[in-house]
């Protein structure tokens, strides 16, 4: 196991205070090793992951960690699948502390405009509180609600509405696509 502990000891000592984080860090490292077997040489030399995302990049965050969680209709409860995503986000954000984040709350189109603005804010706030409970510093996080004004999926059935009921964690305070 010792060869996986590439980071300096001081960092490991910090991490050691949080057993959950250590376990996850090791798991991520092992997964990385395993996936490297099938990589082309050039990607390997560049130090990129399986999907070409540089560790610590926003692409790494979006693709490998997952930048968004989904909600049930008219709900702001963090579902179990969303908790797993937010746990990964918190770990990644602990690893890359240089990023401030903006949490965008969104609603589907099956509601009225003003209520959905408030519902998006409620979802963003629930997400912010969850990340805070997993150690993300409050001063790194801001929230914004877009209500139903920025759907990502535009069909008129539940397959799209369920994708639009979301909270998106955006690195650096930008705007998600």
């Amino acid at each position: 196991m010792s060869q996986t502990m590439n980071p300096g000891m001081s960092r490991m000592q910090k991490l050691a205070r949080n057993p959950v984080m250590i376990a996850t860090f090791l798991a991520l490292s092992l997964a990385g090793c395993a996936s490297k077997k099938g990589l082309p040489d050039n990607a390997s030399e560049l130090g990129l992951g399986a999907n070409g995302a540089a560790p610590g990049s926003s692409q790494d965050f979006t693709v490998n960690v997952g930048d968004r969680i989904f909600f049930d209709t008219d709900s702001s409860s963090i579902r179990a699948d969303a908790q797993a995503t937010l746990d990964r986000q918190a770990q990644w954000l602990a690893q890359y502390p240089q990023y401030p984040i903006t949490i965008e709350g969104h609603a589907d189109e099956r509601g009225t405009r003003e209520y959905n603005l408030a519902l998006g804010a409620r979802r963003a706030e629930a997400t912010r509180q969850y990340l805070a409970s997993r150690g993300v510093a409050a001063n790194r996080m801001r929230t914004i609600s877009y209500g139903k004004e920025k759907p990502v999926a535009v069909c008129d059935d539940i397959s799209c509405w369920s994708q639009n009921r979301r909270a998106v964690t955006v690195l650096g305070g930008g705007v998600s696509q």
Partner: protein
């Protein structure tokens, strides 16, 4: 917007001699009966030296027809050609084509450049003039003169105030749903004279008129901060309403124009505040761990209707203007939102979501007498004509690329598409213009 340019004089006196009839006109419409039979009315081209006469009568006819209460008679059926509107018409020529009312008029360009428009409304069966009026205006305001004449006709025959000389402010939408461009726009109530009020890439939402129609309050995401703004129509000047830590949204003016009422988001909750526009002091009216939003004053300013999900789902509540006495008024199946108090004070219009459909409905301020006016895949955001008889809203049909504006009579009849050059949402009806 162009109020200062507009100089309209109503000269009733000039025609009083001709309108000597008693108050018992035969021609009248009882609009409280629901699905009324539209009144056949002949609207002749106003006598003029150019196309203006025909243009004005066309706008009058279109207004009256769209109200659902009038059926303009086809001009091809006309027997008498009106060449001198100062002479009484041959009433029998109009009775025989079943025109119960007749409109005649004249448009003249005065030597000072102004337009003089005069009209008379005749009761063909009683054989008498019902009204005669004369207006002066700048030629570019000819459509307003036509709307004012249509209002006078509507008022005389229905006994209700007209609503044609009004404007609509709305959100003009273009581009794909995932990257919508939104602009605030203003137009006449019949869809003419569309002007953009903003041109930015920011999301702009929910514009509403001030009581004097000179200001708009709306919400904008300008600078990445969703907040309530004021816009002066005459100057284009904009300002933020208050400086709050959270998102402000769902703004409306108080009936006296002195305050804006809106929601302030605080964490996961949203509560209702007012801001006095002169003193800039804010007052908190609700304090729940819930979403309280879409506040709307009663016309006397003493009460406020709003929506809240404090009971689990969106429902309508009424409270006193100071926030006291918060009482739930909606109890039907489904959720209720976007309440708007009628300018007459007698009803509250709302959006109702039930069974996967969205309806526009009305209920009395105590919650009784709920009536659904129209239901579809998605109807939202009612706004009242100033006479409290007609409601406009926006509709997004399933599979449609964007929303459009519709109007419907309070009776639930006469649903009409309101034409807009692009997709449109969030309509707000102005008061009658000055």
């Amino acid at each position: 917007m162009k109020r200062n340019l507009l100089k309209i004089l109503t000269l009733l006196a000039a025609f009083i001699a001709a309108s000597c009839g008693p108050a018992w006109a035969l021609v009248e419409i009882n609009i409280n009966k629901g699905n009324v039979q539209p009144l056949p009315i002949a609207i002749t081209d106003f006598v003029s030296g150019d196309a203006m006469g025909a243009n004005i009568s066309q706008v009058i006819a279109a207004d009256l027809k769209r109200s659902g209460l009038f059926a303009p008679v086809d001009k091809k059926a006309f027997i008498e050609k009106i060449s001198n509107p100062d002479q009484p018409p041959r009433f029998e020529d109009w009775r025989v084509i079943n025109a119960q009312a007749l409109v005649t008029g004249r448009v003249v360009k005065e030597s000072d450049g102004r337009l003089r428009a005069e009209f008379r409304l005749w009761d063909t069966f009683a054989g008498q003039q019902m009204i005669g009026q004369q207006f002066f205006t700048q030629p570019e305001n000819w459509r307003r003169v036509a709307h004012i004449i249509a209002d006078a006709i509507y008022e005389k025959i229905t006994g209700e105030q007209g609503y044609f000389d009004t404007r609509i402010v709305f959100v003009s939408e273009s581009g794909p749903k995932t990257d919508r461009k939104r602009e605030l726009a203003i137009m006449d109530q019949d869809g003419a004279n569309v002007h953009a009020l903003t041109n930015t890439n920011d999301i702009v939402l929910t514009p509403r008129f001030s009581p004097n129609s000179q200001e708009i309050t709306y919400m904008s995401f300008e600078g990445g901060q969703p907040r309530v703004y004021l816009l002066q129509l005459e100057t284009g000047q904009r300002e933020v309403v208050g400086n709050f830590p959270g998102m402000t949204f769902a703004p409306r003016f108080s009936p006296d124009g002195q305050r804006v009422i809106m929601s302030l988001q605080e964490g996961g909750n949203s509560n209702i505040y007012t801001m006095d526009l002169r003193s800039r002091t804010t007052t908190r009216l609700t304090a729940t761990q819930a979403i309280d939003t879409s506040p709307s004053y009663s016309p006397d300013g003493r009460r406020i209707v709003f929506e809240s999900d404090r009971g689990g789902r969106q429902q309508l509540y009424v409270m006193n203007a100071d926030g006291s006495g918060q009482t739930r008024i909606s109890f039907g199946d489904g959720s209720y939102s976007t309440p708007v108090w009628s300018p007459r004070g007698d009803l509250i219009a709302f959006t109702k979501q039930s069974g996967g459909k969205f309806s526009i409905g009305v209920m009395k301020p105590d919650g009784s007498g709920e009536r659904i006016l129209t239901t579809s895949f998605h109807n939202e955001g009612p706004t009242w004509a100033p006479n409290g008889r007609v409601i406009m809203f926006f509709r997004q049909n399933a599979g449609a690329a964007g929303p459009q504006l519709y109007s419907i009579d309070l009776s639930g009849y006469n649903e009409q598409l309101v034409p807009t050059p692009s997709f449109a949402s969030d309509p707000a009806w102005s008061p009658l213009l000055d």
